[in-house]
Subunit: 628 residues, 2 copies
Amino acid sequence: MVTVVFEPSGKKIKVDKGLLVLEAANDAGESLDAPCGGKGTCGKCKIYLKEGVLGDITTSERKKLSEEELAAGARLSCKAIIKGDCIIDIPEESRLGKQKILIEGAEAPVIVNPLIKVFSAVLPSPSLEDSKCDWYRLEDALADNSGHETITMDISTLRQLPILIRDNKYDVSVTMYKNHVVAINDSSVKNTYGAAVDIGTTTMVAYVMDLSNGEIVGVGSMMNPQIPYGDDLMARISYSFKPENLQKLSNLVVEGVNKIISEGCEKAGIPIESIAEVTIVGNTAMHHIFLGIYPKYLSLAPYCPVVKQPIDFMAKDIGISINPLGNCHMLPVVAGFVGSDHVGVILSCDIHKSPEMTLAIDIGTNGEIVLGNEDEMICCSAAAGPALEGSSIKFGMRAANGAIERVKIKRGSLKVSYETIGNIKPIGICGSGIIDVVAEMLKAAVIDVTGRIREELEDENDRIREGDQGYEFVLEWARNTGIKRDIVITSDDLREVQLAKSAIYAGTSILMEIKGITAKNIDRVLIAGAFGSYIDITNAMTIGLLPEIPMNKVKSVGNAAGSGARVSLISKDKREEEKDILKNLNYIELATHDSFQDQFVSAMNFPHSDLSLFKNVMKNVYTPLPPK
Amino acid sequence: MVTVVFEPSGKKIKVDKGLLVLEAANDAGESLDAPCGGKGTCGKCKIYLKEGVLGDITTSERKKLSEEELAAGARLSCKAIIKGDCIIDIPEESRLGKQKILIEGAEAPVIVNPLIKVFSAVLPSPSLEDSKCDWYRLEDALADNSGHETITMDISTLRQLPILIRDNKYDVSVTMYKNHVVAINDSSVKNTYGAAVDIGTTTMVAYVMDLSNGEIVGVGSMMNPQIPYGDDLMARISYSFKPENLQKLSNLVVEGVNKIISEGCEKAGIPIESIAEVTIVGNTAMHHIFLGIYPKYLSLAPYCPVVKQPIDFMAKDIGISINPLGNCHMLPVVAGFVGSDHVGVILSCDIHKSPEMTLAIDIGTNGEIVLGNEDEMICCSAAAGPALEGSSIKFGMRAANGAIERVKIKRGSLKVSYETIGNIKPIGICGSGIIDVVAEMLKAAVIDVTGRIREELEDENDRIREGDQGYEFVLEWARNTGIKRDIVITSDDLREVQLAKSAIYAGTSILMEIKGITAKNIDRVLIAGAFGSYIDITNAMTIGLLPEIPMNKVKSVGNAAGSGARVSLISKDKREEEKDILKNLNYIELATHDSFQDQFVSAMNFPHSDLSLFKNVMKNVYTPLPPK
């Protein structure tokens, strides 16, 4: 008996001489990666001898390890025989089930175990005694490593199969999606890549990921190239009523996706053909238009999607220019206005698996809201309109350079201080700025609970004045702006904000009503979307956009939709969970819900007609002014 | 209680008034076809009221039956209510499981039950209460009729789905391959078509079939357009070593297949897009080249095919111009020189399901031979060379106009009588003529057992003479031929025939040897291939091409390969059996078999060195002349 110590764990074991290092490691509870089943063909169970002696270096080891590695003491644990006491170092990359964690906002940790994997396959050469066909030869060689009894392949792979296996001397590396052969390469190829894509109405992002460890190796992004054909979804859907226009919008977004994946690949220094899978999230209209599916009926009651469930296509069939045989996975959509971006939020934040009662809101033109936990979830889409994104507001704009994004108004003097994106002269106001300015106008008593600008202050302060469309509040004077005009908040603007916030609040209320709970029962609130990262949560509660919930329960989760695409890409368990989400998520059509109208009207006031719902705001923030 | 009589069976039943005709028919043991489950939407359970009264004609019946049909007493049995005694006629097309029989040669009867089927689907209109997606809406509507819980579809179908179901007012006809949607049409489409294709080295045939009844509705055929690139397989495989040449040959045969399917469709008066499935047989080289699979290694030991098992492709993926989403099914191949044409023979003749010990031979450049029954089958490919097809014979030719196909030689005078194809002056001799002439030369004692032309007869008869390449026998004088030259059989020709027939006989012997049986144990011999239909079986035994077996056990089965493609097209059971055949069929590599050389040499003599194997020939046909 001799003693073997494994580093860095320090695990020690007594074994008989003659045992393989791999066997000793297993006995010691060290899990080594040996996908070839100990044949010495995959080279993945590499260890380093630190002290002591092992058996002679075998031919397989000379083949799989470089001169430098051998000089540094590297061996294959499945071939190296223990000859006496020794200390063996197990490098991180040789460990089985290496757990990589992806955390951003409230995202849950995910074990990297993608559907796309690379397997080594060493095929016996054909002979008169063994003249099975090339397909079966490859299938048999893969069965041990991949766990798939049978394989499938595309005609283009089949056409090249006899050449590929012979040119590579029957030693190949096979990239597989489930049991489908996506690529056959020489045995040096050990790795493959994927891309997770978020197609937003406004922006699109692609995360290029190394599928061996789940790391993001490159990111590409751009504005959605469909914007010239309509700022909002309804405009783009209407434009697509004509099939040739749908074709145009579809081509634009497909080309856009190709461009951002390509940009990510360039940053990662890999060819785009090495991408073997893409996962995609987007709202339902983007999902349909991307696939070229006629989207007209998304815009007409009862707003049926054409397809809800997760679907997969070969890249070449939908024009995606990664490996043409690679898989494109579309996460599921829930309803005409609750898309796979929202499923991505649920998936990445584990709402469907958590015991915590979670409220997640993605604020945009449509506010998608989900409420629930592992038992059941309900969701709805609140037609908030574009006010909270800066549209339909007189000086509203996107969150771009020159946008006012933070605002303070001094009570009494009504002096305004603000910050702009890029620290330049203001040219407009974006979503987070709009929420701030309304909250500040409430706190400074510029407006009352009904959102009326108190014209009675006109004589006291020149920021309050009558404009073309009724009373308005001057945020900044022309001389200090980048547009040489006064930037103001109008009465109409306030009305738009009221409509938006009451739609979202009413949606949230109805979900709580259906669940039979109140804000007190909510364990966590997740604000998703790029916009969600920038808004001031207290101000959002001050104006009554969000229900009153302790701040420590509220989190911005950033682009959780994109995270959903990423976890789906790197984890087959998460991929499977998409179906569970679809099963346990009930969609509520707000417009036809009995109490929607009442809830909506009640939520029009700032923060709400029922002030008992906003006790904390009243106690700590401001006392709402009653209507005149 | 009233009495209902069903015609033409005459079955009588007493039932309560108010019962549906469909229910009464079921009770009487009459099986009516009602794929829509009695909803009145498919119109397939039509019956005719001959006497008596039924309930009022319903709206569904007015929709599904024409004015003429209604006037003739037609009703839907699922809607018509029995009101009193009546006599009802069930037309043949309304019967369930209508058994159509396809018999040609030794083919077994097949029940028509194709993989491609048309189902009627009536979808509930979407509403706010029922806003499921279009896909699930179709899936649910199909589940009842089709028995498939879930469906799949191509992106191109999905793109059109919302338009198709709405334009057709939620009442559609769906063509499906297994659970895959191949076409969505208006509800008047009740039928679909398929094509069975046999790609021979020399000729190609397409049978267009009505999949509702398994009838052939049109046939197209042409010479294989690859012929200019090589008469035989080896030449075409060699030509394909260069990938661009493979591409060329592949395109030629794909275009050829499209042309003959199109020809069949024209004869049937249907558009080629209404073809929803194609089944294809061919030898292994034709199979590979058709699919564009690199065929080089078929020609090099150990002659591995790239793929053996049955495989399916979407028509558009391999360039077949039927419904682009239609399925192309390739029957399996067995070895480099035993192709799916041979599997087609086994499949259509039920060799794999019969208790009878069957020997089936497809004579061509390679003679594919199978021996076995339901328990197990063994097969081999005998390299016969092209002599028996008329090639490599001085005046040999294909079975075309002017070919001598039947020959008699008068013993003593050696007067030759013959028949030519097309009854014109002879211009050469085809395979069946070659077998005849050798048998007749043996019977007339022109040649001895070694195949030597008895030059000692030279002085007695001017038909025997010394030519450029040794002695020869004059079949016809120049003045009577279409080529103005004497048509002769040379010593070299006889040698070629010896090589061919001994290869096939040796193959047959080795299969029997492996099975441990003799010719006596063989229950039936099937001669397949167009050539097989024309040869004189007695003469084939006389020269020792076939083992001596009672004539009543021998059958020509014509193009049984093509029949294999047809039964695979119309029967999913037969399709399934292809895999059983592959499992129970062992391939023997003749060239490396221990006793091949001995068997081959022994079979060189006419009919064989061991004359005890040909007792009947010697007793009834002729006494072989010993060598000089």
